[in-house]
Symmetry: C2
Amino acid sequence: MKVFVIGIGLIGGSFTLDLKSVMENVEVYGIDENEEHLAKALELGLIDKKAQFEELIKADLVYMAIPVDTSLNVLPRVLDIVKEDCMVIDAGSTKEEICKIVAEHPKRRNYLSAHPIAGTEFSGPTAAVRGLFKNKTNIICEVEKTAFKLQERALEIFKAIGMRIRYMDPSSHDRHIAYVSHLSHISSFMLGKTVLEKEKNERDIFDLAGSGFASTVRLAKSSPAMWTPIFRQNKKNVMETLDEYILNLKHFRKLIDEDNFEEIFSEMERTNHIREVLNGINKNEEFKIVENGK
Amino acid sequence: MKVFVIGIGLIGGSFTLDLKSVMENVEVYGIDENEEHLAKALELGLIDKKAQFEELIKADLVYMAIPVDTSLNVLPRVLDIVKEDCMVIDAGSTKEEICKIVAEHPKRRNYLSAHPIAGTEFSGPTAAVRGLFKNKTNIICEVEKTAFKLQERALEIFKAIGMRIRYMDPSSHDRHIAYVSHLSHISSFMLGKTVLEKEKNERDIFDLAGSGFASTVRLAKSSPAMWTPIFRQNKKNVMETLDEYILNLKHFRKLIDEDNFEEIFSEMERTNHIREVLNGINKNEEFKIVENGK
């Protein structure tokens, strides 16, 4: 099977690593604008060969893991080139626009719109790891618009690399993901900004901040090249989540200002319920660790 | 040495575990309003005996790790009881009020005001772990007001359990800590609240949220009983940090609204600088892991 990966970073690179470990006769071709990334991917064994766009005609599977604005240009061009039974999957974090852009494409049925909830704050080929997708959710949008045979093939691969599948329409996907992912990134970036602005003396942050701060601003290490187009594409939903978040912060501030600490206590106690929710997420992660430990 | 720990939870319990592993002839007495916690602490070997307040007269060292509002009542009473050469340390996350409340106490020189930056989102005696303080910063306030002999003894203990020392005045402490710790907790609690309000169907959060969300809302698991009095005592500073955080969020929202994605990119790129800051924090954590691994 000839697999072409467009964008050989954390997601693309981890995908090829897993694919090679669960399937035989996989030959991986890498396409990336960044020559250094391509060279590194070759060196790390994420890909077997560098490739050009025109070679996509040979592909049995194309996996796209590039910024979501670039995807809007690249996906139609990929579909134009690939052969009849080639499957094209994209891994972007927004789904509404990309589904729209290929809605009328003659090869729409070759495309599967998927979003693996497996990102980290790291990026580039050196961030790729085996097992990244194990016990992670893969959200598939508009599954009914993909050819049935290709759906089957995709599900086989996702199952083999350990992913759980969840089906959603693109608009619900973008709305939910704004809450559980995009907002976290903004809250983290702005927290980092607020502290960096205040603590001009960085030695102070080193010394005074603990693991709690580190955890809360972890996502502020994320790649602006990846996240700017996400916020642009998901503008409406992201602004709505931001409005609600800001309202909640203002309300909390008001309660402090009014010395209403009984209500401050209750607010936090109610939100403690997030423990059980996080236990659910961690339980998935634990499975992963146990299974990897085998 | 007779050590009395008042409040035998994460911090108090971890302190006694470390103390016992670095010093000989340590006898630990536990005082806690919560009878279950006391029983658990005894069972876990965090303390050797339960004790009453009146027994504090026997103490060579008193370590207080209780909510910061309770401390304001308890510390003067402890100082009233303890003998001349007893050292009293409190571990609270705010320092201005507690230093004020004992400023004129006849035994002020027996008190050392310290804040170990070692908390986690967990609490209670079952959260106590050996090595919690290794390579963590201990902020000491108004060191000059503590008897020199007791300072020496305290530093010996802190050094033995692996802590770095940083001296600060209480008012600077509370201002800095509002940024690098208290604000993180509020941002996390309000993020958790925003998502819980929106995602009534919790299965959705389980399925859709990844490790990024888990990391950003981790602190929303923290104890309201501990955090409410912290926000009350540090009201002025906390409100200031919140104002700046809200301003930054609103500015980010405005940039999105105006489609100024160049500036969105730059905002994130500038804040990426937090990577180096976090590397500093993690480097300390790595030391810990390496040394524990010995």
